[in-house]
């Protein structure tokens, strides 16, 4: 047993988190910043944060993750990091020549109270930022929120710094995709284009974190939202913010700044959430849903009807990020499965209420925990008391999966021991089909593995 010290008996914990189902804000800000074309994320704090975030993102995306750091030492921690940051700007523009530097803070620079906005303004005034280049920032103290909040803050930072309204609408629509994979951002673009609309998706890590092998390391790959598109977001007809936690804040900031109306939807994971996404675009943009999308939807529904016997009543434990878990739970319910235990370390007040409203008819006694001490240790204890057929979550779930002999479907962040997540979407109807395939394969592999020889069947 790998997690041999996890007791079945559940005791209250208020201070000790064990095996967290979240990580800290700055890594989310770094990921979001990578979704701007020509951008070098910059971590304002000690160099270890930047190293840890780059390592974790690299392990997940299996791609170069470039980012710089203010490299605080004890002196900077005492006297403030302004000198380090200004020095960093000069070095970065000279050596790595980005179009934009996206600065996020860390618990260190937040605790000493560095005012990054003021430092950036001063750098501008002193001519430390070359003409035509940009520096944006956001505050991401690690002791607030989680990696998802950090993502949200950086996207909001993009709006704060770039969005402009020229007074003329450009006919485009904005989509804030939330913390999803490059493959998902690509799929969202494909779906929207299929409806005849050219969206501004921001951030957009497709083309950045799934770049091709060419024999050349392109420091700023061709993907990412361009600065001109980020400016244009202020002239778009409307914004669709996908995910309350990851995207709503930026959408609302854009409404406040440029009066672009914002509609917050769930991440289009699963059948119904994708339906709402397509339906809303169709209505707001006054476009008909094309036959090709109806066909994709029909294929998904067809597989669900065909395979329903394998799904019905199966119990699932889930952990991950709130936006993803909400849509995923709804999908599981829609295919007649029973989400039984759910944790997310990311604090989000509406989480429990949403999950309960989705599951109330099927799993009225569902276990949900969110925020402080909502961790995988507790999830494991719940599973010990009430076993499940399937576990869905990031790579760290593999320890529980092995100990309890439950199939694990890797979903969320980080996934460090498999590939595919960055290339194959899990949003939209195609994404739902892929999730379904994974779930079914997990159950059928299990059935094959566990069956007696006499009942080992060729056809299933």
């Amino acid at each position: 047993m790998l997690l041999r010290h996890t007791p079945e008996k559940i005791t209250d914990r208020n201070s000790l988190t064990i095996n967290p189902a979240k990580t800290c804000q700055p890594i989310g800000a770094m990921y979001a910043a990578l979704g701007i074309h020509g951008c070098l994320p910059h971590s304002h704090g000690s160099q270890g944060c930047c190293a840890y975030h780059r390592s974790t993102l690299t392990r997940h995306y299996k791609e170069p993750v470039m980012a710089a750091t203010s490299a605080f030492t004890e002196g900077s921690a005492v006297f403030g990091g302004q000198a380090n940051l200004i020095e960093a700007f000069q070095n970065i523009f000279k050596i790595y020549n980005p179009d934009i530097i996206a600065v996020h803070t860390t618990c260190l620079s937040e605790t000493i109270g560095d005012d990054v906005g003021q430092i950036v303004r001063a750098a501008h005034d002193d001519g430390k930022i070359p003409t035509g280049k940009h520096v944006i920032h956001c505050n991401t103290p690690s002791y607030v929120g989680s990696h998802v909040t950090g993502f949200s803050n950086m996207v909001k930072g993009m709006v704060n710094y770039f969005a402009e309204s020229s007074g003329r609408r450009n006919g485009r629509i904005n989509i804030i995709p939330g913390w999803v994979e490059p493959s998902d951002m690509r799929e969202i673009r494909r779906l929207v284009k299929e409806m005849g609309i050219n969206p501004i998706i921001f951030p957009d890590t497709s083309g950045v974190l799934d770049a091709p092998q060419t024999g050349k390391h392109i420091f700023y790959p061709k993907g990412g939202t361009t600065v001109s598109d980020l400016k244009n977001t202020g002239d778009s007809r409307f914004t669709i913010a996908l995910g309350e936690v990851a995207s709503k804040a930026a959408g609302e900031a854009l409404t406040a700044k440029c009066q672009v109306p914002c509609h917050t939807l769930d991440l289009p994971i699963g059948l119904e959430a994708t339906d709402r996404f397509i339906d809303m675009i169709s209505k707001l943009a006054c476009v008909e849903v094309p036959g090709s999308i109806n066909e994709e939807r029909g294929q998904l529904v067809d597989v669900i009807t065909d395979m329903q016997q394998y799904l019905y009543g199966k119990k699932v434990a889930l952990f991950g990020d709130p936006d993803q878990l909400i849509s995923l739970t709804e999908f599981l319910i829609s295919i007649d499965m029973r989400p039984t235990h759910i944790v997310t370390g990311t604090p989000y007040k509406g989480f429990e209420e949403r999950i309960r409203s989705i599951t109330k008819d099927v799993v009225p006694d569902i276990n949900i925990k969110n925020g402080q001490c909502a961790d995988m240790f507790l999830l494991h204890q719940w599973i010990k008391n009430d076993p499940v057929d399937l576990l869905i979550g990031n790579t760290y779930g593999k320890y529980i999966a092995r100990d309890e002999d439950i199939p694990l479907i890797r979903f969320g962040f980080p996934i460090m021991d498999r590939i595919g997540h960055t290339y194959f979407p899990s949003v939209g109807y195609k994404g739902a089909l892929r999730l379904l395939e994974k779930i079914l394969s997990a159950f059928m592999d299990r059935q094959d593995r566990d069956s007696k020889e006499e009942s080992f069947e060729l056809v299933m």
């Binding site: 201070s15 800290c24 993750v65 203010s70 004890e74 000279k94």
Partner: protein, 543 residues
Amino acid sequence: MDNVSSKNNNFNPTAVKDELLKIYPVKVLRKRSKSIVINDNEATPEIQANVRTIPGIISQRGCSYAGCKGVVLGPTRDIVNLTHGPIGCGFYSWLTRRNQTRPPTDSSENYMPYCFSTDMQENEIVFGGEKKLRMAIQEAYDLFHPKAIGIFSTCPVGLIGDDVHAVAREMSATLGINIFGFSCEGYKGVSQSAGHHIANNQLFKHVIGKNDQKHEGKFKINLLGEYNIGGDAFVIEELLKRCGITLVTTFSGNSTYDQFANSHMADLNAVMCHRSINYVADMIEKKFGIPWIKVNFIGAAATAKALRKIAAYFGDAELINRVEHVIADELEAVRLAQEDVRTRCAGKRAMLFVGGSRAHHYQELFKEIGMEVVAAGYEFGHRDDYEGRAVLPTIKVDADSRNIEELDVEADPLRYEPRRTVEQIETLTNSGMEFKDYDGLMNDMAEGSLVIDDISHSEMEQLIDIYKPSVFCAGIKEKYAVQKMGVPCKQLHSYDYGGPYAGFEGAINYYREIDRIVNSRVWALIKAPWQKYPELQACYTTA
């Protein structure tokens, strides 16, 4: 770039150095210039190392917390390692260093798959986190009843002034178990190296020497600076056992609290990673009288040398004989593997930019298959790691190093017991045994090779562009950028989830791994057929 290399690949290192530096602003150029040196075997040049990372430069380095919690304490299975801080630090150091361990039974303590954190919130940053820390320790104790708890401070903890040591003392008194803190805030020092030092100091103060249990074995050693990545420690443990050498403690691969507590009962300290742990070796010698020697179990020849060195120290004919038998047993398979792999690897070039000793140790393995290391450097080395321990007295102690506590160690009034007399040490020294010594990296590198401390991303890319090495050894952050350049990258922190590479068995694994990497077909497939011949050929259609 014509003067940098000629067609027959004779590189001009001075020109390469200038090329690496020319992109930098003047101030950076001046600083980096001192950290890039051209090896001279006649007169070892002075290198600038263990100095601050330049803000804005993309570096390989991590922080003090990573060195303390991740590297040194990480591989110890029965200490509850509690990170005091916001969630991130604990999360990132959770299982990511491949700390393998072998608990003796299915129910033995093993907390390695667990991540413990106080997950500090804004409230604790404002009002202090000691209360939460105290409660977290209590909750950990109630759940697990461990024999020891280590508390690791993250950046904000130092700033808000939480006294983790006082909390540790208080909770230790309340709970009756050993609880100790580490002031390893990320901003301390200039790299992971500060964290190693802090970890060693606290282990020395709070654990080493707590258990006086005697061991049966005749030849008792500790292995220091071996962290059991990819199962290296398992191989070495087995090898020592076959030789009849008793391993009291490993710092800290596959280790336990009790072994640390008992380590002063050994008769020799054998040091692998000099950088991370020379402090402990020195302190144990001063307090308990155990001499230390440098060994290296990376590379077949190095392994044989290390075993012979240990045997020579004990000077026992039977032991020496047994060691020779074990070596002879192993070397035939090693020779066959070397001969085979050499046919495909000899003459190829490697670069190593990693760690604080691996960039040195792994050169042995490349040499054994006929590969040339053209450039190397450490991520968190000090000058002595490059130039040898003889330069210690000339190293200037700067403010960043001065912030790391130096323990004042004295001989233990009761337990100090020199394991060898002055005469014995002298005899051994005269016969070639080097005590408390370590040759630097430069000593083992070719004339004119480039030695670079804390290499930056831009220097790395240019080096690869110029030398076009067959393999580049680094870590996960560098891996995919290197590979995008069409050059395979071998991770020498995590071993790319391979290994073991220590000992004879490990050496063979490594030869084969490098053979696979440098000869993989995929590198020749990067260009599509139509991209290889850019000039379009005329085509005629009948339409």
